[in-house]
Amino acid sequence: MDSINKAVLDLKRLDLLANNDSSIHRLDARAKVLVTCVFIICIVSYGRYELAALFPFFIFPAVIIALADLPPLFIARKIALLCPFVLVVGMFNPVFDREVLLHLGSFAVSGGWVSFASIVVRSILTVGAAFILVGVTGFTAVCQALERLGMPQVFAVQLLFLYRYIFVLTEEAGRASRARELRACGKKGLGIRSFSSLIGHLLLRTWQRAERIHMAMLARGFTGAFHAHRQSHFGKSELMFVLGWSTLFIFLRLQNASQLLGKLVTGLFP
């Protein structure tokens, strides 16, 4: 099944990005999680017709992508697969909100289109922030950061286990699904009946795997507790990173930088 393999390859590629070594990668994961949160909250706190004010925030992904040496086209391609639900819901804005909000020359633009554009830009920024966070931090480190920020250990362990076995199980599912497709001549045989027995088998094998893993854990003295030790410290550079970016975000949130710059320039050449 091509789509599964593609999805897995994408996942692996994003996962491997976290192995890069850069000033951003070396920062404590907590700093990056916090900055990403501030960023997203600032973005979503804008009113629905806010569009121009959102653009200055592109400075964050641009700078981080550059400093951390992430592949910009890959990130852009991933962002381009924007959640279709958002677009569908967003498309209704121009339908319901026809009041003219601004004129571009002789072109009247309705509030609906402005808010639709705003939704798209928000999506790009928030979704991009999530990808960048994973790309510069890695899933494991994000989980550990969240745990140190107060997430219960049970849930942290769950996330780590899930992530570990995603790679094993997506490959297994991909193989099973490929076998089914190869024998489903002309799309027949891809219905619910074959699906459910395929999923059923996959589920039983998964269950047995869980039993074997449990065995392996017991064999190494597992008694229910996870001992993790990780030296990471929230030092000066982390503090600078968090304070610097947060200040910038809040400044941008309070001052419409696009407007300011635009005024400056149009003022120069009136």
């Binding site: 550059a66 967003g90 003219v100 219905g191 589920l203």
Partner: protein
């Protein structure tokens, strides 16, 4: 039907994050109390299983289009409510980070919409009641069908409420509900069918798995009832706050900032930096006889309408447009420069 950051207001997103985080904390404690260390790897691999299973498509009967399993009810039946909630939540976390399904702030909403209803409503009040203590095929089928349909009505309804309360989308509540609910009636029926088929398969192959899950679930319905009541209260409370926000202050953070900085209106800051820059502009607007001036003004900004009070904040003048272009260029340029320097 993943909820997305782009459609959320901070008040709604934050409230739902708090609710989901609370439920995760509660379930974590419950799972730890169960002291069943077999469940540790089981939850992990079943989460990975759900993740993988959602990538396999099947042909939806009578339509020819393809769909995939949601799996909320399936996991709840296999793991019991607490472990299932955590597992579903963990899958959503990975999806939001790696596949952009929604976004990070929307996680709270998504975890609630897709985890809470199967684990804490459908499972204790529909599934367990209908299946009883000795499951047979008819009971299982009925219970799962009803549960799946109920979950897939409540989940999307949650999406509708969250979207409408956030106010980023202009979709009116009634239209949105009419769009979402009937579609999800069909989706729920298909989800039910698939879940029945998978559970039946497991039931035939390894009946002890289902039996074990039935016993391992919450023993009495009392703890679950407490949870549900607590959440209804919390939801009402939060709903009240949110509606207060929504009515008086369409923009929660701005309101909060205004409170903090003590300024009535953020526009007031124009006297600050805006003012300084405006002064600067006038001083730097040199070359008054420059030929540009003689040209007709193609898109100078006096056309901004004032019918909407939000329009004032829109930032839609030509200045805004020009500035936007510059800002974008600057952002990417800075990226490029930083990259070159390395």
């Amino acid at each position: 039907m993943h909820m997305a950051d782009a459609l959320l207001s901070p008040a709604v997103g934050g409230a739902m994050c708090a609710v989901s985080a609370g439920t995760i904390a509660y379930c974590s404690r419950k799972v730890r109390q169960e002291l069943d260390d077999k469940k540790v790897p089981l939850m992990g691999v079943l989460g990975a299983f759900l993740f993988a299973a959602q990538m396999i498509n099947f042909t939806i009967p009578a339509t020819g289009s393809s769909g995939h399993i949601g799996g909320g009810m399936l996991l709840t039946i296999l793991l019991g409510p607490y472990a299932a909630f955590l597992t579903i939540a963990s899958v959503l976390v990975v999806q939001s980070l790696f596949f952009a399904d929604g976004g990070l702030l929307a996680l709270g909403c998504n975890i609630f919409n897709m985890g809470f209803f199967p684990a804490f409503l459908a499972y204790p009040f529909i599934y367990k009641k209908m299946v009883g203590n000795n499951p047979n095929q008819t009971r299982l089928t009925l219970a799962i069908m009803v549960s799946a349909i109920v979950c897939l009505q409540l989940g999307p309804f949650g999406v509708v409420l969250e979207t409408v309360l956030s106010g980023v989308s202009s979709l009116p509540f009634s239209t949105f509900v009419l769009l979402m609910q009937p579609i999800h009636l069909a989706i729920g029926a298909v989800e039910g069918l698939v879940t029945v088929a998978v559970v039946t398969f497991v039931f035939k192959a390894r009946p002890e798995i289902l039996q074990g899950a039935l016993e391992a679930g919450p023993t009495g319905s009392r703890p679950v009832r407490t949870v549900v009541v607590a959440f209804l209260v919390a939801a009402l409370f939060i709903g009240g706050i949110v509606s207060l926000f929504a009515s008086k202050n369409p923009d929660g953070l701005e309101w909060a900032i205004a409170k903090v900085t003590g300024k009535e209106e953020l526009e007031a800051s124009k006297q600050g930096l805006h003012g300084v820059l405006a002064d600067l502009q006038q001083k730097t607007a040199f070359l008054p006889d420059y030929s540009f001036r003689k040209q007709p003004e193609p898109k100078k900004s006096e056309t901004v309408p004032v019918q909407k009070d939000e329009a004032g904040k829109v930032g839609t003048s030509a200045a805004g447009l020009v500035g936007t272009m510059i800002v974008l260029a600057l952002a990417f340029l800075s990226g490029l420069v930083l990259k070159k320097r390395k």
